[in-house]
Amino acid sequence: MSSLYEVVPSEAADDVPVMKVTIRVNGENRSAMVEPRLLLAHLLRQGFNLTGTHTGCDTTNCGACTVLFDGQPVKSCTMFAVQADGHDVMTVEGLAGPSELHAIQEGFKEEHGLQCGFCTPGMMMTSKALLDENPNPTEDEIRWALSGNLCRCTGYQNIVKAVMWAATKLDGQ
């Protein structure tokens, strides 16, 4: 317990199983007691207050909830928190330190790769996984890599440019 008290519901059902999970989130170990059915996205958002991970569809289609799971992009709305026990998770908040920006974040701003911003964290996490594996992707490779992330505002063209911008910048570093 990190504080002197923990409020528990007085009428909580006794038969609900609870498990302790410890996840390395953005480089820091975080633990929580969770029901096995709790989705990873919800633990990140409500439990750890990392609200940059969004949920948009509940069916693994839109990709707004994409995080890196041991470096691979996964949709955290379709993964249980308990499945992440002992694993490494990176969210958008982990892309760069305070007052810093990752090249992908800069690229999205420079190339106008976002409008409403709701899909953006997921887009950027998928882009990071791509660039980690393939530092100089072609337009087709970017479009294919991002095909599990939906955007309703931009028409993708500027997102593709944003990823290329980031690739160029990272290449020069």
Binding site: P9, E11, A12, A13, E35, R37, L38, R45, Q46, L50, T51, G52, T53, H54, T55, G56, C57, D58, T59, N61, C62, A64, T91, V92, E93, A96, L101, Q105, F108, K109, E110, H112, L114, Q115, C116, G117, F118, C119, T120, P121, M124, I142, R143, W144, L146, S147, G148, N149, L150, C151, R152, C153, T154, G155, Y156, Q157, N158, I159, V160
Partner: protein
């Protein structure tokens, strides 16, 4: 000393990088689901599994008994407080929670409020509803059939399922034009039902504080002030005690204009429980119950002379509005602005008959990146134009050119009475044809045909009415469609700007500051923009119908000019000369005879608080309410080239050229972003995106596995071009742009596919132009209708 450099200070014409991005790229946006209030409870909605059924009973006892459940609401609970029904934006009523019948699949039946959303969802599952199924009606043909079940038996004076019959134009004149025609070109079309589907669903957090009597509601709304007025009227709460806050919105596209039952239920729950209640809609709820778009049938006819002139147009439309007529549209026009069709063509005679019907489908008919049925109007127009050109055996570009309103014909009265004021239609078409290499493509197409390859080119040209209103003609529920801006210039010359609009991705925080920079010379980075809080923002009608720049943006310019007028008096005081002897250049006033002697706008700001002239009210604040003299009329020309695979019906976009004339561009980068987004939604409509229903009224398209949205992989690249014809009545010459490409784009893609099929006898394939539809058309030589299936055992 000289004027400041407008581009350097982020003024008009600067592709200024967006201010709002700084939080979004860090995952620090503040969307509805990110808002957490102390003691907050969570609400979930139980929805009807049936499209049409009478409710025999609802047993909520098991839900109430579950640990963590705080409240269960049903239609009965709502009815006891006179809240079971609410008014819609179209003078109809809509059920908040069903009392008598359910009228569409997904209709709201009960709500559970619990400590946790998982518990609330579990408890919804525990509610037992006994339904008596009734025959569902899934299209207008069924709805209008003799003996069709009455959907709205709750209403008095509603003997059938017809909502309205509306007529506009000159019937006799049009009949005469058709009698004189050499050729009459006819087309039957269906613009299928679609859904805006912003990636963020809807939601609200109602927070009623009994000790202050204040109700604060965080809500995904594009129009917070309208919501405040609606809550005051529906919930009978005093308006000064209602505060609506629209936080960051994850896309709207019209989906977040209406009032939804979830909002109302969360408000009542908070009042009853005296705790904050959060409702976050899931995707299925969003797709099956919130504002759909389109779903209109057309019978269209053009009267043609052999030389290519259009003599008259007839349109007969039937709109499927679902179970409640809840379109967002100006009060005066029963089917929105469908009669804006053919506004870019010089046509002497026109007649439109529009009918609206109830069906057992979700209500809506809201704008989806289109204003008030304009999308359907323009799609029908451009499909009819292409068919007419083909029927005459004329070149489709030339046919358009012959019939365009000419540059020197403005102001021009459109076939159904709108007044357009500016445009260079033929020039836009020429730019587009040049960019696509029109003649070369026609040659290439002919060559390819010899080898069995099917190439096609589709053009769509249109001017559309954007930026409701003027207040003489446009109101919603009686509230006139003006907008507002309030500017506070601080003592150090920095400023705070608030408007009655509400950005959902359009970038207002960036562009509004650019307008102020343009008018006052204050660097854009020195101006903070706030929107969406009714306790602080001036009253405005919100953001939809591409009205932000035409109306609120104009208000920003006008309030800046008010500030400049006051600053001018201060400058005269500081320079110790008469106001008449002062000139303005960007960022500074100077003495006409001594240009070196001047004061900056920032120096005037300091003086407004520290050294104002005798008798002048201190401070440098003002508010402007702007009522535009007219709509704005942007013009667009979209040209698509495609190749159709005759073996599979699959079609690929080869190129898409867009020429947009939206007048003066405030931020070209953002304008181009809007156009590309719109083109993508146009491609989506043409190729894959629709919501249909099976014969039982089950929604097919209730999740993103069934409701297809294009990804980066399918979406073609776009080539953008511009023509600038300033709007003559807008203070900075701007016109609306947000919706143009989504409105004009679909016809370019469909026309291209139909053009590829020229010679097969196929004149139409309804959207979405799925490969199997193309394949079937190629095999049969018949048109393909997309009308939904009819339940045969009831017919």
């Amino acid at each position: 000393m000289t004027a400041v450099d407008e581009i350097k200070i982020g003024g008009m014409g600067a592709s200024r990088r967006r201010v709002e991005d700084n939080r979004f790229i860090r995952g620090k946006g503040n969307y509805i689901d990110d808002v957490v209030l102390p003691g907050m409870l969570h609400m979930e909605i139980l929805r009807s599994p049936l499209a049409h059924a009478r409710i025999r009973s609802i047993d909520t006892s098991k839900a109430w008994a579950m640990p963590g459940v705080r409240l269960v609401l049903t239609g009965e609970t709502m009815a006891a407080r006179n809240l079971a029904w609410m008014p819609t934006l179209s003078y109809d009523t809509q059920a908040v929670l069903a009392t008598d019948k359910v009228r569409f699949q997904g209709q709201e039946v009960a709500c559970v409020i619990a400590d946790d959303p998982y518990i609330a969802k579990d408890a919804c599952e525990a509610i037992m509803v006994d339904y008596e199924p009734l025959p569902p009606i899934v299209n207008p043909t069924q709805s209008l059939a003799d003996g069709a079940p009455l959907i709205r038996d709750d209403k008095e004076n509603q003997p059938d399922n017809v909502i309205y019959d509306w007529e506009v134009g000159d019937k006799d004149g049009t009949d005469r034009a058709f009698a004189e025609a050499d050729v009459v070109s006819k087309l039957e079309l269906h613009y299928p039902r679609s859904h805006p589907s912003p990636i963020e669903c809807c939601g609200s957090i109602a927070d009623f504080n009994r000790s202050t009597s204040k109700l604060t509601v965080y809500m995904t709304t594009q129009a917070p002030h309208i919501i405040r007025a609606a809550v005051a009227l529906v919930a009978e709460l005093p308006e000064q005690m209602i505060r609506i806050i629209s936080p960051d919105i994850g896309g709207g596209f019209g989906n977040k204009v209406p009032v939804y039952p979830g909002y109302v239920a969360s408000i009542l729950a908070s009042i009853l429980l005296e705790r904050p209640v959060k409702w976050i809609e899931d995707r299925t709820g969003n797709l099956i119950s919130t504002g759909f778009a389109r779903d209109v049938y057309l019978h269209g006819e053009l009267a043609l002379r052999k030389d290519g002139r259009i003599l008259g147009v007839r349109m007969q439309t039937t709109a499927d509005h679902g179970a409640f007529f809840s379109d967002a549209q100006p009060s005066k026009f029963k089917i929105g602005l469908m009669h804006s069709a053919f506004s870019c063509y010089d046509i002497p005679n026109a007649h439109l008959v529009a009918r609206g019907v109830y069906t057992n489908k979700a209500p809506g008919g809201v704008a989806y990146r289109c204003s008030f049925r304009v999308t359907e109007a323009m799609f029908f127009q451009e499909r009819m134009v292409q068919a007419a050109a083909d029927d005459l055996g004329m070149d489709q570009a030339e046919f358009r050119r012959i019939n365009f309103v000419r540059d020197d014909d403005f102001p021009h009265r459109t076939p159904w009475g709108f007044l357009t004021d500016s445009g260079q239609y033929a020039k836009c078409l020429d730019v587009g044809l040049e960019a696509i290499g029109y003649q070369d493509f026609l040659a290439q197409k002919e060559e390819a045909a010899k080898r069995g390859r099917l190439l096609g080119i589709g053009i769509s040209t249109m001017t559309e009415p954007l930026g409701a209103g003027n207040s003489r003609e446009y109101d919603i529920l009686g509230i006139k469609m003006f907008d507002s801006a309030e500017l506070k210039v601080h003592i150090t010359g920095k400023a705070l700007l608030r408007t009655g609009a509400k950005s959902q991705g359009q970038g207002h925080e960036t562009t509004w500051a650019q307008i102020v920079a343009h008018e006052l010379g204050i660097p854009a980075e020195d101006i903070v923009v706030e929107e969406g809080d009714t306790d602080t923002a001036p009253f405005g009608m919100g953001t939809y119908a591409s009205r932000s720049t035409p109306v609120a943006g104009a208000a920003v310019a006008m309030v800046s000019r008010k500030i400049r007028a006051k600053a001018r008096k201060i400058a005269a005081h500081l320079l110790e000369i008469s106001e008449e002897d002062i000139e303005w250049e960007l960022g500074r006033f100077y003495v006409r005879s001594q240009p070196d002697r001047g004061v900056t706008i920032q120096e005037c700001a300091v003086a407004a608080y520290s050294n104002m002239p005798d008798g002048m009210e201190p401070g440098l604040d003002n508010t402007a309410y702007y009522d535009p003299p007219n709509l704005t009329w942007p013009f667009a020309c979209y040209i698509a080239t495609v190749e159709v695979d005759p073996e599979t019906g699959v079609w690929d976009v080869l190129r898409l050229v867009a020429v947009d004339d939206c007048g003066v561009r405030i931020n070209p980068m953002i304008v181009e972003g809007q156009i590309m987004g719109g083109l993508t939604e146009a491609y989506a409509m043409a190729s894959m995106q629709f919501i249909t229903f099976d014969e039982e009224g089950n929604c097919v398209g209730s999740n993103f596995t069934d409701y297809l949205l294009p990804t980066a992989w399918e979406t073609p690249g776009f080539e953008l071009h511009e023509v600038v014809t300033p709007c003559p009545h807008h203070p900075i010459g701007a016109k609306g742009i947000g919706e143009c490409a989504a409105v004009g784009g679909p016809a370019a893609f469909v026309n291209a596919v139909i053009d590829a099929l020229k010679g097969t006898g196929v004149r139409n394939i309804d959207m979405p132009v799925f490969p199997d539809r193309v394949y079937e058309a190629l095999q049969t030589g018949q048109d393909i209708s997309g009308a939904p299936p009819v339940r045969t055992d009831e017919a």
